[in-house]
Amino acid sequence: MNTAVTIAGVTWKNPVTVASGTFGSGAEYSELVDLNQLGAVTTKGVANIPWQGNPTPRIAETYGGMINAVGLQNPGIDLFTQRDIPFLKQYDTRIIVNVCGKSVTDYVEVVERLGDEPVDMLEINVSCPNVKEGGIAFGQDPKALFEITKEVKAVAKQPIIMKLSPNVTDITEMAKAAEAAGADALSLINTLTGMKIDIHKRTFAVANKTGGLSGPAIKPVAVRMVYQVAHAVQIPIIGMGGIATGEDAIEFIMAGATAVSVGTANFHDPMASVKVAQGIEEYMKRYGVEDINELRGCVE
């Protein structure tokens, strides 16, 4: 039985990674999860300099999901390369570094700094709904997305994955722009912009007023978008949005994803990502699937 998948020339032992921001750089989870059992670890977004993030409260639970507005608090590339990359190198898993920035120059600086680091892929976050500058601004306009993808690709030594926002009218337009600019792969979807009001306190549940909705509540939207994008572009897709079980992952793969990310489920069960990888194998055994790649896009 083969569970390995290849994305932009990089082979993962299985199609499961973790969604950026839900797993830190893996250190905190490593007490509870064997990182060797993941196809890849995707780190929390890292910028050129440390970012403070948003005021608290930064999260709120919603029905079947949650809203977050952490605001990409991160230690900056210096501390990240000294501490987080060597930590992840101890494990037999692919390393995907999520890159964030406020301007094209910020992104380019981080991508250049990562050029000589032992990381396998870069995921470019152009879809965070919780920061005022950068983030989603690049991910909601096909021209801006094309430009930043081109600039990043020009300096990147590793394959680049553009992480797309669902907060657009037509996600296929964004996917095509990224592909045309040279993106090696796509991650989708990032969170949906949402809001929750605390009716007892008569205020917003998160200090940022709006936040990104994630969790099982958004899964059907994510599956639909993966399906649409898979039919619009040739580059591989890492599908995410509410995946909590092996069955959920299979759904994304059938919609056209090559690999999947487990995000919010890590908060409900720190072992969720490994359980998803095991669940995929159980499905394959049950239906006699020899190679996970056979299932990709099997629903036309």
Binding site: K44, P50, R58, G64, N74, M271
Partner: protein
């Protein structure tokens, strides 16, 4: 010390006040490692409620492998826990957070409302170390756990309605009774902790404050539950300590909240 996620068994549960429940759990792997001021995450069985509920440890029995949690029902998640009976199972993770640093100095333990439970285990362990323990408990109106502290030290009360001890806050009780000590340990609502922080800093008393914030992962990865810190934090280097991991207990001079 290793954080463990496990399925615990409810040994006993009973209401001890209006919307306040006392739950005894068999959870040996966690109980044998836990210390006062640490907490556990409790997980709902209902898939619509994804995030764990962080609950402080009221009593820890390492030998018997049991934990006692005293919590208030504030929503559907805690209401689900309140319906559990002896023999029922619940997923929990812990021990989480740093806990109190026990100092061999005359102690004032201050608990306000649902911040009272973690003070019980602390009172017990400090008194075992022959530390002079004074306990100040603040309530809105109805009391709970108030009779359980007596074996470990002198207990003082404050209540908003004045029916139990001094009418007013825990700070009013400290002034009224002239309570003095070298180390304050406190857990309770934010306005109470701010008043204690100011009092401790003005009077040069060491104070350990247990803070609260909305949490997701509980292990320091998601960065949801930060507070402003005087020193650069270990994780991000931006003066944002993680309450779940670097705390929940901080020294008064360490944090702004």
């Amino acid at each position: 010390m290793a954080t463990t996620k496990m399925t615990a068994t409810v040994i006993h549960q009973e209401p001890i006040g209006t919307g306040i429940f006392s739950m005894q759990l068999q959870a040996a792997e966690i109980a044998k490692q836990a210390k006062p001021g640490q907490f556990v995450n409790l997980y709902s069985k209902d898939g619509s409620r994804l995030l764990p509920r962080p609950i402080s440890l009221c009593e820890i029995n390492g030998e018997a492998g049991t934990l006692r949690l005293v919590y208030r029902t504030v929503g559907k998640g805690t209401e689900e826990f309140a319906r559990l009976h002896a023999g029922d199972k619940i997923d929990i993770m812990g021990p989480l957070g740093n806990g109190f640093t026990m100092q061999e100095e005359k102690a004032i333990l201050i608990g306000g409302g649902i911040g009272i439970p973690p003070m019980l285990q602390l009172a017990k362990e400090l008194s075992q170390q022959s530390v002079e323990v004074q306990v100040v408990l603040g309530y809105r109106d109805e009391t709970f756990l108030d009779e359980e502290f007596a074996p470990y030290g002198t207990v003082y009360f404050a209540s908003e309605d004045g029916n139990h001890g001094v009418k007013g806050t825990v700070m009013d009780a400290i002034r009224e009774y002239g309570i003095t000590g070298n180390v304050i340990y406190a857990c309770g609502p934010t306005p109470m902790l701010r008043a204690i922080q100011a009092y401790a800093l003005e009077n040069g008393i060491v104070a350990q404050l247990s803070l609260e914030e909305k949490m997701a992962c509980g292990i320091g990865a998601c960065l949801a539950c930060v507070c402003k810190s005087k020193e650069k934090d270990h994780h991000t280097n931006v003066n944002n300590k993680r309450i779940c991991k670097d705390g929940p207990v901080f020294f008064a001079e360490e944090v702004e909240f």
